[in-house]
């Protein structure tokens, strides 16, 4: 090795074959430990751990595979309009959208559940998702449902409920024994279902009250943090159930109504107290004060086909400074599962059949 006398002069003593083998083994062991740690973090070493993939599989098992659709809240339409902030909530949250003024809104109105072509039924849970887009400031995304509380308190319980309520391939119906076993193991589920059943159900989308089922924290400019829940309370009177019985009957009724006049909801903030539960199966005491943050107005609907809500993931953790998550573990679980659902459906776009409510149907004013 000419020209490298330094190396030769200081060359270390030769290793014995055994010493070389031991040292090579040591290097191999270090690499193996690194790989194992990485695999552990990725969940590959613990097949029983609940992952985003397993939640998606459970939705597929319950609803069938519907490429290009949301794994949950699959049947829906886009709704655009604005939020006229009253400024009242600005004392609770420093988020720009609560300053007095008008903020554009891109929403989505849907049925809960993973079946994109399920016939409309007022007995099914409905949802209103909103994306607030204040100019030059942080956006806010929130999803709300027309039930007073969520049925489960953890992602694991949600997964078990999905499995228990999945139709048996033999009978085409969920196995009552499985539901019974689930309910037996989850007393909070039975209590929550009691509250959900006692809650009066409106006839359609426009006259429903939608509740953010989870507790968040509003943080104001002074840094004061307050536990809150919020609801969208309809301005339009509760109407009789549409009798059409059409497969898109509830959507058509909404399309007809919005064609005549905008529909509106008041965004009501319920102000909690320290110690109020963050468990989404538990309601807050009825005497908690409410603040009217402003009016959500929806003046235009569109089909998901090319609609402005189609490529929006209504991730509950897309929050502006001034709104923070509580310690409710479902918030993280939702965010994670929504992200996976979003990634799957965006990748499947080419294979997606047209959504149930078509652009023609919306243009025709609801006559399908």
């Amino acid at each position: 090795m000419p020209g490298d006398a330094g190396d030769l002069a200081g060359a270390p003593p030769k290793l014995s074959a055994l010493a070389t083998l031991v040292r090579l083994g040591l290097i191999g062991l270090v690499v193996l430990v690194a790989v194992a740690a990485f695999a552990y973090a990725g969940g590959w070493l613990s097949p029983d751990r609940l992952t985003q993939g397993r939640i998606m599989s459970a939705f597929d098992a319950q609803n069938g595979r519907h490429p290009g659709f949301r794994r949950n809240h699959a049947k829906g339409i886009c709704a655009t309009g604005w939020f006229e902030s009253s400024g009242t909530a600005a004392s609770l949250s420093k988020a720009a959208l609560f300053a007095p003024g008008r903020v554009p809104v891109i929403g989505r109105i849907a049925f809960a559940g993973g079946m994109p072509f399920v016939p409309d039924d007022a007995a099914m849970v409905r949802s209103l998702a909103l994306r607030f887009l204040p100019a030059g400031a942080e956006e806010w995304r929130t999803g709300m449902l027309n039930i007073p509380v969520f049925a489960v308190a953890t992602a694991q319980a949600f997964y078990e409920l999905l499995l228990a309520s999945t139709p048996d391939p033999g009978t085409g119906k969920p196995d009552p024994a499985k539901m019974q076993a689930f309910a037996g193991a989850h007393p909070e589920f039975l209590a929550a279902v009691g509250l959900i059943k006692a809650n009066p159900v409106s006839s359609g989308f426009a006259d429903a009250t939608y509740n953010a089922l989870h507790v968040f924290r509003f943080v104001n400019a002074a840094g004061v943090s307050t536990p809150v829940r919020w609801s969208a309370v309809p301005v339009q009177p509760v109407a009789a159930a549409p009798a059409s019985g059409d497969k898109n009957g509830l959507f058509d009724a909404l399309i007809t109504e919005v064609a005549k006049h905008p529909v509106q909801w008041r965004l009501m903030i319920t102000v909690g107290q320290p110690g109020d539960p963050t468990n989404p199966t538990l309601p807050w005491p009825a005497d908690r004060p409410q603040v009217d943050a402003g009016m959500v107005t929806i003046d235009q609907l569109s089909s998901e086909e090319g609609g402005p809500c189609t490529d929006v993931n209504y991730d509950p953790l897309v929050l502006p400074a001034g709104i923070e998550p509580s310690d409710d573990p479902i918030l993280s679980a939702r965010s994670a599962a929504y992200a996976r659902s979003f990634t799957l459906r965006e990748g499947e776009r080419g294979a997606k059949p047209p959504s149930a409510v078509t652009p023609q149907e919306v243009r025709a004013g609801g006559k399908s």
Binding site: A34, D311, S332, F342
Partner: protein, 181 residues
């Protein structure tokens, strides 16, 4: 006794070890958050985004530092194939540390997500919104992250090979606490 070889400059060593910690943390956070539905998910995501941008900034700083403080030459006794592997793996490491954050940033842009760093600080989107673009970049982000982890493993094994088998001072040139070169 290892032969005394010139060490990396102190800023080079500092940047190397700082980024080693950050990149490893990033890889483990990334693979964990892509699977989990636990209560930690939100926290992991809120660390992942600013950490990725920090790595993007640091890799640019590091590249400039490398021009100012070139690395010490490899031992002349190193076989040509190992020399080639060393250079190639360093090119791949630098390239991935630069590209992965950009793919992440582009992916969030294409997915219509706000790119929140911390509090009200946000970055602008760098790509237009689009379903196919988002899906492709999301996939690429995963593939490149696995490639970065594999390259890290090769880098780690090679460093230990230099330190334990060849004992040629290459490991010590980076893993030294002494201030002089």
């Amino acid at each position: 006794m290892s032969p005394r070889r010139p060490r990396f400059a102190v800023p080079s060593r500092l940047l190397h070890w700082l980024m080693a910690v950050l990149v490893l943390a990033m890889l483990f956070i990334g693979v964990g958050m892509a699977a989990t539905v636990s209560a930690r998910y939100g926290l992991l995501v809120s660390i992942h985004k600013p950490l990725g941008i920090a790595i993007l900034v640091l890799v640019v700083v590091r590249f400039v530092n490398r021009l100012i403080n070139p690395p010490p030459p490899l031992p002349a006794t190193l076989p040509a194939i190992q020399r080639l592997a060393a250079h190639a793996s360093h090119v791949v490491l630098y390239a991935l540390m630069f590209i992965l954050p950009l793919v992440g940033w582009g992916m969030l842009s294409a997915g219509g997500y706000p790119i929140v760093l911390c509090g009200p600080w946000e970055l602008p989107p760098i790509l237009p919104q689009g379903a196919a673009l988002y899906a492709a970049l999301r996939q690429l982000h995963t593939v490149l992250a696995y490639l970065l982890f594999a390259t890290f493993l090769a880098h780690l094994a090679a460093a230990l090979f230099h330190g334990l088998i060849r004992r040629d001072g290459v490991l010590e040139s980076m893993a030294s606490l002494k201030l002089e070169k």
